[in-house]
Symmetry: C2
Subunit: 373 residues, 2 copies
């Protein structure tokens, strides 16, 4: 096995593939990157059992394969070698079956390969059930939902994000049962998909989607989803089970709706929760006064108290109203909006409230309040 | 106690004073900042027993004291409140002896004060033994020496930096007994000083010295050094004991001296130690060949091996020579130089070698080699 490759091209692809590298190793072979040279193409593969990523490189000006072959190199060290090298080209060759020689200008690295016989077979297989969207839309979906998934493994299904396409409508839902993020999108063609994708996989995918206009093909099979993007294959396992029905959770009748400047509201909540942050519950109280002013407050017996006055841009109905909730949940929900102004819609003091934004037409964030004395 | 102050001015001073705040608390009162308003001046004081910092603010346009007083506020929370506030002015007042009210635009904070009776008396006292240098020189001294001090408390004296002024010559030395950094400086007047300053204190002081042209007055008393800089007093305890005599350690006769481009040498060593880094000793081998080429290499039986060829700009004496040492020590030493080119002077394969640079005329770095098979 022997090839010469442009250093920047190799590094860019390694940086993407490395996202699937296993760090802690129940399977030590998965700390390696599988490198395969065949048919004038170089394939780099990494997998951690949850996600698998493969990059294929076939630029004839920047890659010259002299001898085909397969080898598995320690991923972390191989990545660091290429990163620390500033030569334009990298010479890669294999000696004595398992010693990799890497030449770069005046640097000469020998790297012990891992046993390629141990590397698991990974099938990146197409499916007939395919949806297409541009990377920009997919990034939006990921950024606006994954934060609301559960971190606890006690209900595994809630650690994933539900993707449900019926007809032309994609509905994406994430919830940890205390808050919920829901985003719609409409396709030009009809599809049928109903899967739950691990939130961690989507967050890793998001880091790879650098060009918003490139189309992503998503192939769904019963246990896997395969994202095809540029020269990359990104495959994740799906979460088994039935996602809870959330269609009736979002209220539609409101006692009052308040419009705020988003960044002013975020600043006020950040200040109001300065002391609350150190309390495990992060609870703040929001009070609407009959003069349409809003007070956001928190108290920590040990440290002190904060009161923030916020003037809403609009208030549909001036009522005396008080509600308490996690400041962390509201901050994360608010930051998922691109709109400059957001609207908080309240249905009752111990009922869920929702957040919408003019510009984010297909996005709803919902938060459950807590009862406080 | 009651005053109004410009928010940016307060924050800038808090950021400086906070460097002395105790985080873990054998003395909980030291997690507080003492605020004292008197004589049209505001004093902010923090201390962690090792260093104490006091800022005095007396700008009449930006500070209005309505009522004098003393209070101790929780340092971390007070800092975060001011940082998160974007109002131009802060209103500070004390109610019921121990509740601090902070008003900033529409924000209203109540902060429980700490018991000021528990705050220790801290004397920032002048001495007759004073030296003066500009902040730029002091920063240089700190940056080029503190990294070579010992982290181990087994010989406490080596966790400090020795400052020794005899006549007009200041000699600053740091060593952990495996490497040594030595820097000279000459004054216009004669002084007499012989102290050891904790390395950690100097590193904190370094972060405060933002304006290289401002003069710093250093007052030495038997157990303390007081640095006066702008409106700040920075005081550190000294380390008790006699610093080892290092005057005979630095060799003056060399077998050969090699001149390198500093950044090329740093890159080569960083690559040569890529595998060594994960070995506790970080040992690399440097070999001079009789054709005046230099090889830097390391081997890790598990991972692999690296060989770097470096061509010195000059080599005073072409000999076959090999020496092994910690790559971490050489990298830290090299990075302390401002010179574009550095010279490595070798006296023997198991003897200390030194590094100098044309531009860093009064700086010598010394490293002890290790014996390897």
């Amino acid at each position: 096995m022997k090839f010469t490759i442009n250093r920047d091209l190799l590094l860019m692809n390694l940086n993407n593939v490395n996202r699937a590298l296993s760090t802690k190793a129940p399977m030590p072979i998965l700390t390696g990157i599988k490198i395969e040279a065949r048919d004038n193409c170089l394939f780099l593969t990494a997998s951690n059992n949850e996600i698998s990523i493969q990059a294929s490189i076939k630029d004839r000006r920047l890659l010259k394969i002299e001898e085909e072959g397969i080898i598995v190199v320690p991923g972390k060290y191989f990545g660091e070698i290429i990163r620390k090298t500033d030569s334009k080209e990298i010479d890669f060759s294999v000696f004595e079956e398992n010693i990799v020689k890497i030449l770069a200008d005046r640097s000469n690295f020998s790297l012990n390969a891992l046993d390629k016989e141990n590397y698991p077979f990974i099938s990146f297989s197409d499916s007939e059930n395919v949806i297409k969207m541009d990377a920009g839309n997919l990034r939006q979906i990921i950024r606006k939902t994954t934060f609301a998934t559960s971190l606890s493994e006690s209900r595994v299904i809630l650690t994933g994000v539900s993707f449900n396409v019926e007809g032309r409508k994609l509905e994406v839902v994430a919830t940890d049962s205390f808050r919920l993020a829901k985003k719609f999108m409409f396709f030009d063609t009809e599809y049928g998909v109903n899967v739950v994708i691990p939130s961690r996989s989507l967050d890793e995918l998001n880091k790879i989607l650098d060009d918003v206009e490139t189309m992503v093909e998503i192939h769904f099979s019963p246990t896997k989803a395969l994202f095809k993007y540029k020269n990359l294959l990104f495959q994740t396992r799906l979460i088994d089970g039935t996602y809870p029905n959330t269609s009736n959770l979002i209220p539609t009748d409101f006692l009052t709706s308040l419009r705020f400047n988003k960044s002013d509201l975020i600043s006020a909540i950040e200040r109001a929760s300065l002391f609350a942050t150190y309390d495990s519950a992060n609870i703040i109280k929001l009070t609407i006064h009959s003069d349409k002013t809003v007070e956001i407050a928190s108290t920590n017996n040990e440290i002190g108290a904060v009161k923030e006055e916020v003037i809403p841009l609009e208030c549909s109905n001036a009522i005396d109203f008080q509600i308490a909730f996690s400041s962390k949940y509201l901050l994360e929900a608010l930051k998922s909006f691109d709109s400059i102004e957001v609207i908080l819609h309240f249905t009752g003091e111990i009922k869920p409230f929702i957040i919408t934004g003019d510009y984010d037409v297909n996005l709803t964030q919902l938060i459950l309040p807590v009862r406080v004395s």
